[in-house]
């Protein structure tokens, strides 16, 4: 057998046969190699760009990333405007195969996000969606993405996750956490609610881009806007970036944080007291500001009505949204009197003891009246009793140029120094254009208009020995990347040229305003000398026409029953730590600054001084008694 086998294999396994077979196979391999090599060459060389771009499309991820928008803080780092982290909740209905699971998911979603009903969720969780194709026919597509809730709070998502999670190891139902996904989002929030709303402004979101609409959000938008970068990286099948690849991954810088000079506790006190005032007097508006006269730094600024930046429905009222303290012009009334009297004292035209004939309340020649009839008043009493006729007579002695200088040197008709583009400069005619009555009207705060900020600055000038600071609102701008705070330099002071000796006398007069027989006794604070001045001015209103007939119902001019009532003051009188100006627009049932505005001053300042640990300068009128 073996021999037979050997003999039959002899021809097959002969060297010649093997050589032939080997050459044949080698030939095939060479041909295959050449074909493969050719194909390789075609793919790798000739079609390289095509396939490379096709591959990159699959494994390369492009992503636009932005940092966090800058936040706003008060002087002590209390948060005023924040970026709140949120989560977008989405799910993939295609992966919910059983109807039972679909019902369960719809039910859970309807419980946690009741904006949509159970039926609506159930409908939206269909595994397929039907879209109209290019040929107009319905096309069935896999429903792989359904945005359940945009910007859900972390707490809500936490609860949702608990509901979605399996109840235990024995729970063999679909794990709904696998079909629901969460992606990070962020919203702009205002943790202090309505506090400082007008100053801070608000933002809208258009196409995932923040659009600032008002206030500091708009003014400092450039500084607060974060860096925007485009990341390009090779990704793993799960979407993670591959570390060794040639990736371009950036960490975009966050926007800069803004630190204000505002002190949140004092701001809160002011807001609370304005709320009390609104409840008591139901005015059309009220606005107030508190500043440190030594630096011009604004410590609190508020207005009513205001709006809630977290509630879009409150944005509609433009009267509530605009910054009335910077934009609303009004005649300051008696708040202007101290400036004229001061200049008259400096020019030695009058002394505090000089007596002025106040015409028993009616100066016919100049068509001017006083609220109460006074015969003869000293200059001190002119301020104390807020006599229009007395002040007008002093102004006549000063002359037009003198009155104009007395007011404009304290910053009337000029900007306050705050970064508000919309701040009004006011209306103030030069003396050459005054009519015959203007010399008696301007010193008592009529015939020119001002803003609350101008008044605040002017009173800071009085309180600070005639050195009038430019108001300051921005303490610094902090770069969150480096942690460096760039302090905003102070703009300095404007020298008014006021004589400190005469100013001291004027302040004594203003202290008497808050004495028992002054016009603002309700502004007196136990333990402190308060220098202040009340102001009441009639509102200059536009003509009112009947919308149907077009007839004029009410003529334009000074209203008989509508007022701005104000109070401006500083405390302690001779070493002032705080200056406050408050203006109330048309309070119901009261018109005097002493009755309406002065109590707000008193309550606010009392609390603010306590917060600042300012020690009382005067003995208390009666012992402080603790509550049993």
């Amino acid at each position: 057998m073996g021999q037979q086998h050997n003999s039959s294999d002899g021809a097959v396994n002969s060297p010649e046969s093997i050589r032939v077979r080997f050459r044949f196979i080698a030939g095939l391999l060479i041909i295959a190699g050449v074909v493969l090599g050719g194909r390789f060459f075609y793919i790798q060389v000739l079609q390289r760009d095509h396939y490379l771009s096709a591959a990159r499309r699959i494994y390369t991820k492009k992503q636009t990333v932005t940092g966090q928008r800058g936040e706003i803080f008060d002087r002590n780092g209390n948060l005023l405007v924040a970026n709140s982290p949120r989560l977008n909740v989405a799910c993939s209905p295609y992966h919910v195969q059983k109807d039972e699971d679909r019902r369960r998911l719809a039910w859970i979603l309807s419980q946690h996000f009741p904006e949509k009903s159970y039926a609506e969720y159930y409908r939206r969780l269909d595994r397929y969606r039907y879209v109209t194709g290019s040929d107009g026919k319905f096309v069935k597509r896999r429903n792989q993405y359904f945005l359940v809730k945009r910007n859900a709070s972390l707490e809500k998502v936490q609860l949702l996750k608990k509901s979605l999670a399996p109840t235990g190891k024995k729970d063999k139902r679909l794990n709904l956490l696998r079909v629901v996904s969460f992606s990070p989002g962020v919203v702009r929030t205002y943790p202090k609610g309505r506090m400082l709303a007008n100053l801070l402004g608000y933002v809208d979101i258009e196409n995932d881009t923040i659009k600032p609409r008002n206030g500091l959000e708009m003014r400092f938008n450039q500084a607060m806007t974060p860096e925007r970068k485009r990341n390009v990286y090779e990704r793993t099948p799960a979407g993670h970036p591959i570390s060794f690849a040639d990736n371009k991954i950036f960490e975009p810088a966050n926007g800069k944080d803004i630190y204000l000079t505002i002190l949140e506790p004092i701001q809160a006190i002011l807001e609370e007291e304005l709320n009390t005032l609104v409840k008591e007097w139901q005015p059309e508006g009220a606005f107030a500001a508190i500043a440190d006269p030594r630096t011009g730094e604004i410590l609190a600024i508020a207005q009513r009505p205001t709006f809630d930046p977290g509630d879009r429905s409150t944005y509609k009222d433009q009267g509530a949204v605009r910054m009335r303290y910077a934009q609303d012009l009004y005649e300051p009334g008696s708040l202007a009197k101290p400036f004229t009297v001061l200049y008259a004292l400096e020019r030695k035209i009058v002394t505090p003891e000089d007596r002025i004939n106040c015409e028993k309340g009616l100066w016919r020649e100049k068509k001017l009246t006083d609220v109460s009839s006074y015969d003869m008043l000293t200059v001190s009493d002119v301020i104390k009793k807020s006599s229009n006729i007395g002040t007008a007579k002093i102004a006549v002695m000063l002359g037009k140029e003198g009155v104009y200088h007395a007011l404009t040197r304290f910053g009337f008709h000029s900007r306050s120094g705050l970064p508000f583009p919309a701040e009004q400069k006011g209306f103030f005619l030069p003396p050459g254009r005054w009519d015959s009555l203007a010399i008696t009207r301007i010193p008592i705060g009529y015939s020119f208009s001002t803003t609350l900020l101008q008044l605040l600055r002017a009173y800071c000038g009085l309180a600070n020995n005639g050195k009038m600071p430019y108001l300051k609102l921005i303490h610094g701008i902090r770069d969150p990347e480096t942690g460096n705070m760039e302090l905003v330099p102070h703009k300095g002071f404007q020298e008014t040229g006021a004589d400190p000796v005469q100013l001291y006398k004027l302040i004594d007069m203003m202290v008497s305003v808050t004495a028992r027989d002054g016009t603002a006794r309700r502004a007196a604070i136990p333990g402190f000398q308060v220098a202040g001045k009340t102001g009441t001015s009639r509102k200059n209103i536009e003509a009112l026409k009947d919308p149907v007939t077009g007839k004029i119902i009410r003529k334009s001019g000074y209203a008989r029953d509508q007022y701005y009532t104000s109070f401006a003051g500083f405390v302690p009188a001779h070493e002032p730590r705080l200056v406050m100006v408050i203006t109330v627009d048309n309070p119901k049932g009261g018109k005097g600054g002493g009755a309406v505005a002065a109590p707000v001053f008193k309550r606010t300042m009392e609390r603010a001084l306590r917060y600042l640990y300012v020690q009382p300068t005067e003995p208390f009128p009666e012992p402080a008694v603790g509550r049993p």
């Binding site: 093997i18 924040a82 709140s84 060794f244 609370e272 136990p526 009382p616 012992p623």
Partner: protein
């Protein structure tokens, strides 16, 4: 002594084979071994590359997961910070004081001498003696 080099390969079995090969046969074994070695080396490099790449992908995923966790913690931290800011506003505190009828009010100037926290039993032992008010010489009563 005349020493001549001996051609060992020319004798024995190996010699016979070599003779046969040199007579026209090819040494396939050597070629195949070399080829296999090249293939093995190539495959080893390829597998090594794939393994390292896989490890790198895994570590990238792990890094990404940790980054995500850090982001979540940061977000949670930021969220809590915002909540604290909301809860510390005076408006909220005032509302809570009213809601729970705490009857709190700010102290008057010069009224606070020191502040302490006492149990009701301890508080009962503190006498209500008039104390001199720090700054102005007037008298107040220390309350319980």
């Amino acid at each position: 002594m005349n020493l001549q080099p001996v051609k060992i390969g020319g004798t024995g079995i190996m010699g016979e084979r070599r003779k046969r090969n040199s007579a026209g046969a090819v040494n396939y074994g050597g070629f195949v071994v070399k080829f296999i070695l090249v293939i093995i080396a190539f495959m080893a490099v390829l597998i090594g590359h794939l393994y390292l790449r896989q490890q790198s992908v895994k570590s990238a995923e792990r890094t990404d997961d940790i980054k995500k966790q850090i982001m979540e913690v940061k977000a949670e931290n930021r969220n809590l910070r915002n909540h604290v800011a909301g809860l510390t506003r005076l408006e909220h505190i005032s509302r809570m004081i009213a809601k729970f009828k705490l009857d709190l009010r700010p102290a008057m100037h010069g009224q606070i001498i020191n502040i302490g926290v006492y149990t009701p039993e301890q508080a009962a032992t503190i006498p209500l003696t008039p104390l001199k008010v720090a700054s102005n010489g007037s008298y107040g009563v220390r309350g319980r």
